[in-house]
Symmetry: C2
Subunit: 215 residues, 2 copies
């Protein structure tokens, strides 16, 4: 946690420091990121930095907190009452918020991606212990509910499916960012719908009876 000194700072100075840190951790991994560069960019003396944060990790975790909070802002309208709606509709909303977040905040998305990337890194391990994997957990619950309601196949391996769905989140966002430039709402709607369809129906050719269902 940042020291009280940081919290007491005038807002614009605090923002400048956070912005400099975001820029640095967007451009470099945790290890490669440099406090020297950050204090340069933020135009504060090095000594001051250590008045605000205990060390590099302290700053990094503060950023992660900011990211989690911002991502929650995107998610919360969706998750307000998750049980009131069909599994695939809810899933669609979850993915849509994820994509929207990624498009609106490519830098924060990139920092998150970097964290998720190296699962052996001590900082990743620490973060996961503190925030225990929410994503897998939520999907676990949703899938169970979905099966109970008959929206999903009853023979699914819940744990396995939860893991696949939750790790596909990144893949879809990556695909979108790499292949679709124009930032039109309908564009990512389309990407998400492709994905939901993929999840629901698989890619195997259906029998004629199945084809009927899609009409």
């Amino acid at each position: 946690m940042p020291k009280p000194t940081f919290k007491n700072l005038p807002e614009d100075k605090r923002d400048k420091i956070e912005q400099a840190a975001i820029a640095e951790f967007t451009a470099y991994s945790f290890d490669q990121a440099s406090i020297n560069r950050i204090v340069d960019t933020a135009e504060i003396p090095k000594g001051s930095f250590y008045q605000y944060f205990n060390d590099k990790k302290d700053l990094y975790k503060h950023l992660l907190d900011l990211i989690v909070m911002k991502k929650m802002d995107y998610m919360s309208p969706v998750m307000a009452n998750p049980m009131s709606v069909d599994f695939f509709i809810l899933l669609r909303e979850i993915y849509l918020s994820g994509l929207r977040f990624a498009v609106d905040n490519p830098d924060l998305q990139q920092i998150g991606r970097r964290l998720l990337a190296d699962r052996n890194h001590p900082v990743f391990v620490e973060f996961m212990q503190e925030n225990l994997n929410k994503s897998d957990e939520i999907f676990h619950v949703l899938i169970s509910k979905g099966i109970e309601r008959g929206e999903l196949r009853a023979d699914l391996d819940i744990k396995f499916t939860a893991h696949i769905i939750s790790s596909l989140n990144t893949a879809v966002a990556d695909y979108y960012q790499q292949n679709i430039k124009v930032e039109i709402d309908e564009e990512y709607m389309l990407t998400v719908d492709k994905f939901i369809d993929f999840l629901r129906n698989g890619i195997g050719r259906a029998t004629d009876e199945q084809e009927d269902r899609k009409l």
Copy 2:
């Protein structure tokens, strides 16, 4: 490329250096990996190292070449005549070889994972330019063929599907390594089959007619 001096080395010395490098790049990212530690582990003087390699990147790329070659060994029996067999059977084989490679060579798998992780890293970009993304490409071809033959849905977005399938490779291997410890052949057979089923049928509950098909 390593210098000729390296190629001329007695095999055991070369092995020792390669092993030391593998250990280092397994434990640390490219940036974090240290030549000093590598020469320590390999018990060669630092000067000697630079008789063998131009720089850190040179060594790293040499390792990547080793990894690619070894992975090809696992794949080649499968890819001998990819067109002679059903899409899902072939896919099953591809994933099985991938998983087998990951289980047999957790260290090499880890180095690969680290590379794939940070797609902005100059070394990743360079590697992809030189080895242009084979994985997506192969799946692109296979999916097209699969559609032509009527094994896959005709309305698939080929590019999108290729990306999803190719990035799920990592997810499945991760899941297996995290959740299944025992190294029995049948265990990873099971993981792969779950995944193939997931791809083929999706997770949506089928109509009664569809359920019949599965019997």
